[in-house]
């Protein structure tokens, strides 16, 4: 005990001795400047997108370049939202419908399956769990073509079902929920069973409320994946009115004359919901996201 205390004291003098050292202070200052440079480099493209959306096309492409618009204008937003070139408002709404539906369905399925693996013992549990984990290793490129043909056959082509239903099946979601449900005390469940509650009731009224935090993290992740998805909606959706916003913005590049201002405006609007969600839930997210990296 006494040895420990003197070790601590020694540590402290070493630490404080180092802190006042000019060389390390200069070093820290330098690293902090480097950090700030990185912030500028990271933020500049964002800022340029935002300010560019308030400039007329001619101004974006003229010298001298300015970050701030010299003649701020809302014309890009007006044209974009009016639907003259692309039905952006509809497409934005489509993205919302798809993302929300997929998120809700995914949460339901992932928590159900996670509950099954976390709170029950049954024959074949080990094998089935390995199959679940194994599915995470297989790259999706294999199924792109056949899944498309399958969607075609069951009439899910050009339908949101073709995005939502496959998107609700997520091994990662199951794994995530299962990990979080493991810590729910089985005494609670047993007590509920003795009281005559149904298995579904136990899951719905006891299990789920106890993992609200995990559910919200998963919700954000699934929503994000769905909101930003480009490849699969590109394959499934065929009519312009049904497009999600990434598809819509992409078609703006195909126009005879590329409308940069409008594209920037669309890009900015499309990013707002995500930024809002992440600002609202930042602490929970940043802490929970890294669980997979360390424990997984």
């Amino acid at each position: 005990m006494a040895i420990n205390a003197s070790m601590q004291e020694k540590n402290m003098t070493v630490r404080t001795g180092r802190k006042v050292h000019w060389q390390s202070l200069f070093e820290r200052g330098l690293l902090y400047v480097l950090l700030l440079i990185c912030v500028v480099l990271t933020g500049a493209p964002f800022v340029y997108m935002i300010t560019g959306s308030f400039k007329e096309n001619a101004e974006i492409f003229s010298f001298p370049l300015h970050f701030l618009p010299q003649v701020p204008t809302l014309i890009n937003y007006q044209r974009l939202l009016s639907g003259a070139d692309i039905p952006f408002v509809a497409q934005f709404g489509n993205s919302a419908i798809v993302a929300i539906s997929q998120t809700l369905l995914n949460l339901l399925f992932s928590s159900m399956v996670g509950w099954g693996f976390a709170k029950f013992e049954f024959r074949g549990k080990r094998v089935l769990f390995l199959i679940l984990l194994g599915s995470l290793t297989i790259p999706f490129q294999i199924i792109l073509v056949p899944l498309f043909l399958l969607m075609l056959r069951i009439n899910f082509l050009d339908s949101y079902l073709g995005i939502i239903i496959p998107g609700a099946i997520s091994a990662f979601g199951v794994f995530f929920m299962r990990q979080n449900m493991l810590s729910i005390p089985s005494e609670l469940i047993d007590a509920a069973r003795i009281d005559g509650a149904s298995e579904w009731g136990i899951f719905w009224r006891i299990g789920l409320p106890l993992v609200k935090g995990a559910l919200s993290v998963l919700a954000v992740l699934v929503f994000l994946g769905s909101w930003n998805d480009y490849l699969w909606p590109l394959i499934i959706l065929r009519s312009t009115e049904k497009f999600t916003y990434p598809l819509g913005l992409a078609t703006l590049y195909g126009l005879y004359k590329i409308e940069y201002g409008m594209i920037l405006a669309g890009a900015f609007l499309a990013t707002l919901p995500i930024i809002a969600i992440f600002i609202a839930g930042r602490k929970q997210l940043l802490n929970n996201l890294t669980i997979g990296a360390i424990k997984g």
């Binding site: 493209p45 339901l108 490129q141 294999i142 399958l150 609700a168 099946i169 909101w227 992409a250 600002i279």
Partner: protein, 296 residues
């Protein structure tokens, strides 16, 4: 008796959403793709013609496939040797003791990752613009370097895409590294310093080995992500050819083009399998090299 039987069925009911969905939307397509890859099927309603292994043979001698393979591997190398070390560096800086505004930085560097790939490509089309772009005008010209035709010069297309990847993916990888760094007990490092180890030695013999699980995690996703890359290069270069002389043609982009633009469904199925095998082999190789299967 009835109660017992129902009781045992319950877990299977809970886990059924995943396994039913997995069977329909994954296993069945995977098997169908294998079958399809032995046929020539051009167009959705055409009758398939048996080819045996010809699709795979054509694949290996297909110049576009080779080009895509080289390009994607070039990007993956950039990912492994530029982006991951940069992320580690950023994580080290962000893990400094007594860093003001650390939470703000964590969120800020994470932001590029939550924006859609399409949006990122939209922004970077402007960043890489020859005459009016951010990179040429705000960084190269002030340093006295000639403006670069980032998106039209065959030599600079891949570096441009890697730069875009650097912007987009450094932050989140840094977050993973930060979580890993937090798990290294400070006493171990301090003991080494007291024993006379230099900071470089502490990093090399203590920090790095203890970061191995996180490093494996980060590298696996870097490799997989590189070969999955689709929306950013597609929107950045326009169309699905990968720009001038296919310098920006990525493997998944080529798959999309062959399968969904040219509707060469059999060929694309074979391509999907080839791509999946490549990804799996590389990931296993990486795991082997980093010694995941060793007990340390």
């Amino acid at each position: 008796m009835v109660y017992n039987w129902r009781r045992r069925l319950v877990p299977y009911l809970f886990i059924s959403p995943f396994f039913v969905g997995y069977a329909i939307f994954f296993v069945y397509p995977v098997l169908w793709a294998l079958y399809l890859s032995f046929f020539k099927k051009s167009g959705i309603n055409s009758t398939p013609r048996f080819l045996g292994l010809d699709n795979y043979r054509d694949l290996v001698s297909d110049p576009l496939f080779i080009k895509a393979l080289i390009n994607t591997s070039y990007y993956a190398a950039g990912s492994i040797f530029v982006i991951v070390p940069a992320a580690l560096g950023l994580a080290l800086i962000l893990s400094m003791r007594h860093l003001p505004w650390r939470e703000f930085f964590r969120f800020f560097f994470f932001a590029p990752n939550i924006t859609a790939g399409v949006v990122v490509a939209i922004i970077f089309r402007l960043v890489f613009e020859l005459d009016y772009g951010l990179l040429n005008n705000y960084i190269l010209v002030p340093l006295g370097i000639e403006p670069v035709r980032w998106l039209r010069d065959v030599r600079f297309i891949m570096p441009a895409i890697i730069l875009m990847g650097l912007w987009r993916y450094t932050g989140i990888n840094a977050l993973y590294f930060m979580a890993g760094l937090q798990n290294i007990p400070a006493e171990v490092k301090e003991a080494a310093i007291i024993d006379g180890a230099s900071r470089g030695q502490v990093f090399r013999y203590i920090t790095l080995p203890l970061l191995r699980p996180v490093l494996i995690f980060v590298l696996s996703f870097a490799i997989i992500g590189s070969y999955n890359l689709f929306s950013e290069p597609s929107i950045l270069l326009g169309g699905y050819e990968g720009g001038p002389r296919n310098a920006g043609l990525f493997l998944t982009m080529y798959l999309y083009r062959m399968g969904f633009r040219n509707l060469e469904l059999g060929y694309a199925a074979a391509l999907g399998y080839a791509l999946a095998i490549i990804i799996l082999v590389l990931t296993l190789l990486q795991l082997r090299i980093l010694g995941m299967f060793r007990e340390d």
